[in-house]
């Protein structure tokens, strides 16, 4: 038996493609989108280019909203990084990037066959897509991508820190090219997660639908993209790639809109936020140690709250902020309100007890709140570990208060 027959026998499950697909028919439907074949020393590849005028609207914003008040300060709010760059340096210095790949698992065998980029030039927005039409075109394409990367200081991506950029780096290494350095890589996934982690998904698609007010029609499922590319290299029909190119340019436009939206929110210009968004902004400000704004956002979160869970969380956090800056009278107001509204569990009782015991030294009143907390716990019959722990703590507080009362 020859080797090939043996291989066939061993590999029972090999899935055969349609054998009728002929090779070397040349490219079909070349004109389906505007493109040029680029030739360089390493070979050739295909590049598309589309120009969007500054009043082009994608979702919530027009392209030209992007640069409004974009400076080192607003960038720092979004990314927590201080670039020390001047406002005028931002112009024409930001590259948006998104890749389409032959697999989603990473590893050296995964290829970025399409690298889409967006940048501003002379007040217009350019989207260029670098496409290798087969494996032999990768080297030429990457050489030009590398040059392009070298001419921008800031890269903006969505999940690019763990996916797109390491993948490009791997491809460069395999082609014996090295990765250029950038001043800053803004991964909008991280910025978005800080505000919208309450959504079921923080994917770009989910953000478009839930936040950015952009709906894709007939968009291709991301996980189908690799197999479509594999089919394309067999039959070389550009019709197949059209939805992928469209998908990729939407991704890049959404990057711009998402960035603009983040900037507007951080600068406080976008006012119609939900209570969740206000709450998370409060958290971001807390982490940035901007406590004044933190309190402002948390108050807004409470005001906008339509369900008790988020209101409770905002109350809780807000009272902590007051405690932190020693404004106990304000904290007490919140705890009292929480007690009035009766939907916050033992938290306000415990806090009141602590406050009365340690700050006011009013043990009698403190004991009252401890007793109330205990009653509340006894009403709740769920036997969780948390509850057991709470009961122990309350008991401990009660007995200490009783001792103090007896002594005085």
């Amino acid at each position: 038996m020859n080797l090939r027959d043996k291989l066939k026998k061993y590999e029972k499950n090999n899935k055969n493609y349609n054998p009728s697909m002929k090779k070397d028919r040349g490219y079909l439907n070349k004109k389906i989108f505007p493109n040029t074949i680029i030739k360089n020393d390493q070979g050739k590849y295909l590049k598309t280019q589309k120009i969007y005028s500054k009043d082009y609207k994608h979702g919530l914003y027009e392209i030209n909203n992007f640069f409004e008040e974009l400076d080192n300060y607003s960038l720092k709010q979004i990314t927590n990084t201080d670039t020390k760059m001047k406002k005028e340096d931002f112009k024409d210095n930001i590259l948006f990037i998104d890749t389409e790949t032959t697999g989603l698992m990473g590893g050296t065998g995964t290829v970025a066959f399409l690298i889409g980029v967006g940048y501003f030039k002379n007040n217009d927005f350019f989207i260029e897509q670098y496409l290798m039409r087969d494996y032999d075109e990768e080297n030429a394409m990457l050489n030009d991508i590398k040059k392009l990367l070298l001419s921008f200081d800031i890269i903006v991506s969505f999940n690019g820190k763990s996916f797109d950029l390491p993948l490009i780096q791997t491809r460069l290494i395999l082609n014996r090219l090295n990765m250029p350095d950038f001043n800053l890589h803004v991964d909008l996934l991280h910025s978005a997660r800080r505000i919208w982690s309450f959504l079921d998904s923080c994917s770009l698609k989910s953000l478009e639908g839930n936040i950015l007010n952009f709906k894709r029609i007939d968009d291709i499922e991301g996980n189908l993209i690799p197999s479509i590319f594999f089919r394309f290299i067999e039959v070389k029909d550009f019709e197949l790639l059209k939805p992928i190119l469209e998908h990729n340019s939407y991704d890049i436009l959404s990057l711009v809109t998402l960035f603009t939206h983040l900037k507007e929110i951080h600068l406080g210009k976008h006012k119609q936020l939900s209570s969740h968004e206000f709450f998370h902004m409060g958290r971001i400000k807390e982490k940035q140690k901007d406590f004044a704004n933190c309190i402002k956002y948390l108050k807004k979160a409470i005001k906008a709250a339509q369900e008790k869970n988020i209101k409770y969380r905002a109350y809780k956090k807000l009272s902590w902020q007051y405690k932190r800056i020693n404004q106990y009278e304000n904290a007490v107001k919140i705890w009292q309100k929480m007690i009035e509204e009766q939907e916050s569990g033992i938290f306000p009782y415990v806090e009141m007890a602590k406050y009365l015991e340690h700050k006011q030294k009013d043990y009698k009143k403190a004991l009252y709140y401890a007793e109330e907390a205990k009653k509340l716990l006894n009403k709740n019959k769920m036997n969780t570990k948390n509850r057991k722990c709470n009961i122990e703590k309350i008991e401990h507080r009660r007995s200490r208060l009783l001792k103090k009362l007896n002594r005085s």
Binding site: N16, G107, G109, I173, I233
Partner: protein
């Protein structure tokens, strides 16, 4: 009592001596020492001197010299002969010389990697040089991985991690691959069979990646004593290798005793439990506070013997267990206790057989034959470091292999050790790794991945749209991440997962079963034994390749009946004698499981049965076969001949693992009373893995010896008409099987006696 007195005391116990089949006194040996190499870094010399190492054993120096001359080297030495210095010296020396130099260490298990790490730390701490040494495996914290990839000088890992976690991401390891000077492969002898064949291919991939980054690392291997360390290592690394097998370490005198528990049931050939006997003998030593290690063959038995020993020990004697599944900290603590002498006894699985440092023990007890001569010496070698006297006792179980060894001690003591077989060019395995390699780097035209037929295989993958050929290169062109589908520990990529559903709401994969073994091992209601626990298969999702199991506590196991059909595809070689002919070649085995029996433990009684409804499975593999001359068909009636063939095939499968250095489950047999291939009564013994790993060819080379051993073994077997340890139980092979098998063997061997 001291060890010498213990020896005399044993000799004066008649009930002990009655069961001893051999008492071999092995002489001690003085060490051969040489000066430290003059070109060794001063700092390293000082550290060694601090550790009271003023001289090296001769084999350590020889290894150092070979490696300095840039020769790939394998060091073959028994336990406790300082083999780690053989590779640590040149590696550390080269990093001291140039901080950019890198080394990769491969150990078969994570536990050994950990042990190596702590050993290296000790040396490096003394050196007070910042040589970054890390383990990199499934246990490595994600947060630490990046810095290990970028700046680790010595990376300690295992072949599985190299295969699935490192090579497919080689661009993240540039620093390592660009500067890789040494690849250390320890415990080379454990890379045999399917696992070894896979590892050889992983090394081929490693070499390709190194070539891409312009490095050409030297290979330093270390092996326990086996018959073919040079052949194995050179197949593993794909090039010639220098073998150092003279041992310069000293050794004390050793008494090696084989002990066979008495027969308690003659018809079934059942002996008194070796577990209880092992406990009894270990107790004698432990009561005298003599440091003793007991090796068992399973985790479960480790726990059983441990609890027996603890029930019957003086208060101040400290006995611990040691096996996989204990937490790393606990294991380190036990190792330390042993080194410091605070622990007197330890009961262990083979986890302590490999190079974990536990210091000096006096007695090793092997509860059951460990399966190979090499392992036996490794385990025995755990007792008696330095020049002190030691005692090793092997206590045989009722199994065929144990009985063969205990009754044929001359075989054990005369043969150096088994050979370890691998077949890196097994087509299934090769194909899998060519895929992985293509994923890692495109193949270039003319490239040779260990075989001349590389291009043919690449073309095949191209036609199946797994690779794409463009401008003289083959590119990976599929979505999958191939390494993930390929387990180094099995041959087929179509493994079934065994999932524990004992606790509702949780499910955990506890094992994998290869496609071919599914019908017999994880059919519905089968008892699946894992880590000594019994599980019952509650549901088998055949298309989803999953078996759901729950823990049960029953006193039986299940044994499936397999209707096997075997066809010969290709005959590679054959030979003819007066009364038989023998060949080896390629075969297709198709197997259909029809029903299973429930068999009671120990007594092997049949306590029930059930049907199996699963599709037929087919496997291509290699086989050895032996056909009998026509005259036998005239001399014996058909039914009796069939039983004799069955008996002989059982007997051969029982003892062949000794000659093949394989697990009993690695080979299977079937018989054909009139084979469609040649019309003669034929016994087939085939490799259990698709494509085979070379066991059949080896079988073909040694079959005369095997038949001879089978004959003398059967003559000595104390059972009456056949037992599971020889030709099989009477209820399976009939009353006359033993007698007729003896007759067949005598006749066959007469026909080739002059050879």
């Amino acid at each position: 009592m001291n060890i010498e007195q213990m020896k005399n005391s044993l000799e004066n116990r008649p009930e002990f001596m009655k069961r001893v089949t051999i008492w071999k006194e092995l002489e001690g040996r003085t060490g051969e020492y040489v000066d430290l190499p003059h070109n060794l870094d001063k700092r390293l010399k000082n550290v060694l001197k601090k550790k009271k190492i003023d001289q090296l054993y001769s084999h350590q120096k020889k290894a150092y010299d070979y490696i300095m001359k840039k020769k790939d080297t394998v060091v073959v030495t028994p336990t406790a002969s300082g083999k780690t210095l053989c590779y640590n010296l040149p590696v550390l020396n080269s990093i001291l010389e140039d901080d950019n130099n890198r080394a990769l260490y491969l150990f078969p298990t994570k536990a050994l990697s950990q042990d190596q790490l702590s050993g290296l730390y000790e040396l490096i701490e003394e050196l007070s040089v910042n040589i970054k040494t890390h383990t990199y495996d499934g246990d490595t914290q994600v947060s630490a991985r990046k810095s290990i990839r970028q700046s680790g000088h010595i990376v300690i890992t295992n072949p599985d991690m190299l295969h699935v976690g490192i090579l497919p991401h080689h661009t993240k390891w540039i620093k390592l691959f660009e500067n890789l000077k040494y690849v250390v492969i320890d415990e080379v002898h454990s890379y045999r069979g399917v696992f070894g064949s896979h590892v050889a291919n992983v090394i081929r991939r490693l070499q390709r990646i190194c070539e891409f980054y312009g490095s050409d690392p030297l290979f330093i291997c270390a092996s326990a004593t086996i018959d073919n360390p040079g052949e194995l290592s050179s197949k593993l690394i794909g090039k010639d290798i220098e073998v150092i097998d003279e041992n310069g370490a000293p050794a004390g005198p050793r008494d090696f005793i084989f002990y066979n528990p008495p027969v308690v049931n003659k018809e079934l050939g059942i002996r008194r439990s070796y577990v209880l006997e092992s406990k009894k003998i270990a107790s004698i030593f432990l009561k005298n506070k003599i440091k003793t290690i007991v090796f068992t063959r399973s985790r479960l038995r480790t726990e059983i013997i441990l609890s027996y020993l603890r029930d019957d020990k003086p208060r101040d004697v400290n006995i611990r267990g040691y096996r996989g599944g204990y937490l790393p900290n606990e294991r380190r603590q036990i190792e330390k206790g042993l080194r410091e002498g605070k622990i007197h006894g330890v009961v262990s699985t083979n986890a302590l057989e490999l190079g974990v440092d536990i210091g000096q023990l006096d007695v090793s007890i092997l509860a059951g034959y460990p399966g190979t001569i090499a392992s036996s010496w490794q385990q025995a070698g755990r007792a008696g470091r330095g020049q002190r006297r030691s005692i090793s006792i092997m206590i045989a179980s009722s199994s065929a292999l144990d009985q063969y060894i205990v009754n044929n001690p001359e075989y054990f003591f005369e043969k150096p050790a088994e050979s370890a077989l691998i077949n890196p060019n097994n087509l299934m395995i090769l194909l899998s790794h060519i895929k992985c390699a293509a994923f890692e780097l495109p193949f270039e035209k003319g490239e040779n991945f260990g075989v001349e037929t590389t291009e043919e295989i690449l073309r095949y993958l191209e036609d199946n749209h797994v690779l794409r050929y463009k401008k003289d290169k083959w590119y990976w062109s599929a979505e999958r991440y191939p390494a993930e589908d390929i387990s180094l520990r099995s041959a087929s990529s179509e493994d079934f997962a065994v999932i524990d559903k004992t606790e509702t709401g949780s499910s955990r994969v506890i094992g994998r079963v290869d496609y071919f073994s599914v019908p017999t091992t994880i059919h519905k209601d089968a008892i699946y034994i894992h880590e000594g626990k019994q599980y019952q298969v509650k549901d088998l999702d055949y298309s989803g390749k999953k078996a759901y199991v729950k823990i049960v506590d029953v006193n039986f196991y299940t044994d499936a009946n397999l209707a096997v059909d075997l066809r010969v595809l290709d005959k590679f070689e054959s030979k003819k004698f007066d009364k038989r002919s023998a060949s080896y070649g390629e075969v297709v085995v198709s197997a259909q499981a029809t029903m299973y029996k429930k068999v009671k433990f120990n007594t092997h009684e049949n306590v029930g049965y059930g049907d199996i409804n699963l599709p037929e499975v087919e496997m291509h593999t290699t086989a050895w076969w032996m056909s009998l001359a026509e005259e036998f068909e005239e001399k014996i009636d058909k039914k009796t001949l069939e039983n004799a063939l069955l008996g002989l095939s059982n007997l051969l499968v029982n003892i062949a693992p000794i000659y093949l250095m394989c697990d009993p489950g690695d080979i299977h047999s079937t018989i054909q009373i009139r084979s469609p291939f040649n019309g003669k009564p034929t016994i087939f013994i085939y490799d259990s893995y698709p494509g085979g790993v070379g066991l059949s060819e080896k079988m073909y080379r040694v079959d005369h010896k095997l038949l001879k051993s089978a004959y003398s073994y059967l003559q000595k077997c104390p059972c009456e008409g056949g037992c599971p340890a020889c030709v099989g139980p009477i209820n399976e092979v009939g009353l006359k099987a033993k007698e007729k098998t003896l007759y067949l063997l005598r006749e066959v061997l007469e026909g080739e006696s002059e050879r």
